[in-house]
């Protein structure tokens, strides 16, 4: 099929449209962050006068840096555990023959669709009872559980592409299945593992539901939750971007 010149131009125009779509809000975020003081209320897309004042303020106070520490630490730890545990399962699924394989995949799928918000009430109650509320571990455990399905799928897809003859060769040479896994497959699987780790990290990094429900202080509150509460905690100046408490930020009065 010969693609006509006109069609190519149309697709290129589409590409430009996609770029505008994805990058305009990003440009707006950057522009907002560069607006000093009251310039944020200039109602223009671009700052009239730009400065790095906001960034200096953010890193001068502890509010954002502690949240950043929490977010990075919690997401990294949960990613490491999630990928390690998922690696074992993905290997078993891609490689071994055992009953219950389908059950595990179905459970993983069901959990990926689970409404996490349904869990926060009971988890809130349980975590308070066992002392996990507002701790790193209290967030790491749910993050691991909810990144596992994604990690298991991604990894088992990658593991199926690995040349398994090499594992058999190792086993023929006298390696146990465990050694074959550890010495031969893990290095081969590294790119897939890395991809999975990135996906798992972003899932934890992006989480808001658990972060906002299972923490109450700077001890464990991650960035998304801290940002959402920023308006409520700082009533004036110091961080113009999120400084004003908007009229709609109070909970709605009606209740059942």
């Amino acid at each position: 099929m010969t693609t006509s010149r006109r069609a190519q131009v149309a697709w290129a125009a589409g590409a430009v449209l996609i770029l505008l779509y994805t990058l305009t809000p990003i440009a707006w975020m950057i522009s907002l962050s560069l607006k000093p003081g009251d310039d944020i209320y200039n109602k223009q897309f671009l700052p009239t006068d730009w400065s790095l004042e906001n960034y200096r303020t953010v890193f001068a106070t502890d509010l954002f840096t502690s949240a950043l520490r929490n977010s990075i630490g919690i997401s990294l730890l949960s990613t490491v555990f999630s990928v390690l545990i998922a690696m074992l399962v993905a290997y078993a699924i891609a490689r071994l023959d055992f009953p219950g394989k389908k059950l595990i995949l179905s459970v993983a799928l069901a959990i990926a669709m689970f409404p996490v918000i349904s869990l926060i009430g009971p988890l809130f109650d349980m975590w308070r009872a066992v002392g996990l509320f507002d701790t790193w571990l209290g967030l790491i455990i749910p993050y691991i559980s909810f990144t596992l399905p994604l990690s298991i799928w991604t990894l088992s897809a990658f593991f199926r592409e690995i040349p398994w003859e090499m594992e058999q060769a190792a086993q023929v040479d006298g390696a146990t299945p465990w050694q074959a896994f550890r010495r031969v497959i893990v290095p081969l699987a590294a790119p897939g593992v890395f991809t999975t780790a990135i996906i798992a990290f972003f899932a934890g990094w992006n989480d808001f539901v658990f972060g906002v429900s299972l923490t109450s202080t700077d001890a464990a509150r991650p960035v998304p939750a801290a940002l959402a509460f920023f308006t409520a905690r700082r009533s004036s100046s110091s961080r113009p971007r999120r400084s004003r408490r908007p009229p709609w930020s109070s909970p709605s009065p009606s209740s059942s």
Partner: protein
């Protein structure tokens, strides 16, 4: 994404349904290793979902507020009655349904267009495919703030650009819902676009070419050849996005905090359980939300015959 991984399916499918009565040592070892390797993930996934969910069902039969621990008493199903007879619950159901319908249908159209463009373009393909990951990778809370400030009365440029003067987007229910939908659509369309791109790649080129040779117009090729051939990918994308939209929380929390009739079911659950610490009622709402998600998944999988094997990569 895993959707594209069908060729490996044969290998994974269990070859023998009923294992022979006498297993060899090696087969036994393999079984034990399989279970051993799967156990940690299995236990963790269930410990954080099944147990709390059972706990939620249990708590939902009590009148229980954390601020009044002594007043905890068994009330049977009356919490459910309270929730289901309250107009607020039904208003929230309507809000959630509107947001889900609007965002998912618009995202499907936009996402499909984007997928087509990404599939067809030759020049700048990598740039476009990378840029579409940007909204996908950004924290939802951050993008929600950006959209809120864009529409806000005191800092937004949208009124300026559209020449709306001092229109208060967050002042009324419908305009507030529009802003929430806009933010949600922007953030999650890339997900649909990428899933559909994977689906498009599976449509055999020879089919499209044959249709072209037979004189089919672009429209006909699109609706008669391309879309029917990627129905599986479309259904999977729809299922995941519908469930995702039904659970919308971050955007609502940041943009309106549920004011002016923009409260969704997730936000209601949060408000009852965490803000009001009314764990009894909150758990009842949780259980109802869980059931509604089950219902949606059931309708998609049984009703529309969505082939989830495609996601798992073990279609046979």
């Amino acid at each position: 994404m895993t959707v594209t991984r069908e060729p490996a399916a044969k290998k994974a499918a269990p070859r023998r349904k009923a294992p022979p009565l006498e297993l060899t040592d090696r087969a036994l070892h393999e079984r034990r290793l399989g279970w051993l390797l799967s156990a940690p993930a299995f236990v963790l996934m269930l410990a954080v979902t099944a147990y709390p969910m059972a706990n939620a069902v249990y708590l939902s039969t009590f009148s229980y507020r954390l601020t009044d621990p002594g007043g905890k008493e068994f009330v049977g199903l009356s919490n459910y009655l309270v929730v289901l007879t309250d107009a607020l619950w039904w208003e929230d159901v309507a809000t959630t349904a509107v947001i889900t319908l609007v965002t998912v249908s618009l995202e499907l159209v936009i996402g499909f267009t984007f997928a087509m463009v990404m599939h067809k373009i030759i020049f700048g393909r990598r740039t476009v495919r990378t840029s579409i990951l940007v909204p996908y990778g950004i924290i939802t809370v951050v993008s929600a703030f950006a959209w809120r400030y864009a529409f806000a009365l005191d800092s937004g440029f949208v009124n300026n650009w559209l020449g709306l003067g001092d229109f208060d987007w967050f002042g009324q229910r419908w305009s507030a819902l529009i802003t929430i939908c806009a933010s949600e659509i922007w953030k999650t369309t890339p997900f649909i676009a990428l899933l559909l791109l994977a689906g498009l790649a599976q449509v055999p080129d020879s089919l499209i070419e044959a249709a072209h040779v037979d004189g089919a117009t672009f429209r006909q090729r699109l609706f008669k050849v391309i879309i029917p051939n990627m129905k599986a990918a479309i259904m999977v994308a729809l299922l995941f996005r519908t469930l995702d939209a039904w659970r919308i929380f971050d955007n609502v929390f940041v943009m309106t905090a549920g004011a002016n009739g923009t409260e969704t079911l997730s936000f209601l659950t949060y408000r009852q359980s965490i803000t009001r610490v009314a764990l009894g009622i909150g758990s009842a709402v949780s259980v109802l939300l869980f059931l509604s998600v089950l219902l949606i998944a059931f309708v998609f999988i049984k009703g529309f015959k969505t082939d989830l094997g495609q996601v798992r990569g073990d279609r046979r």
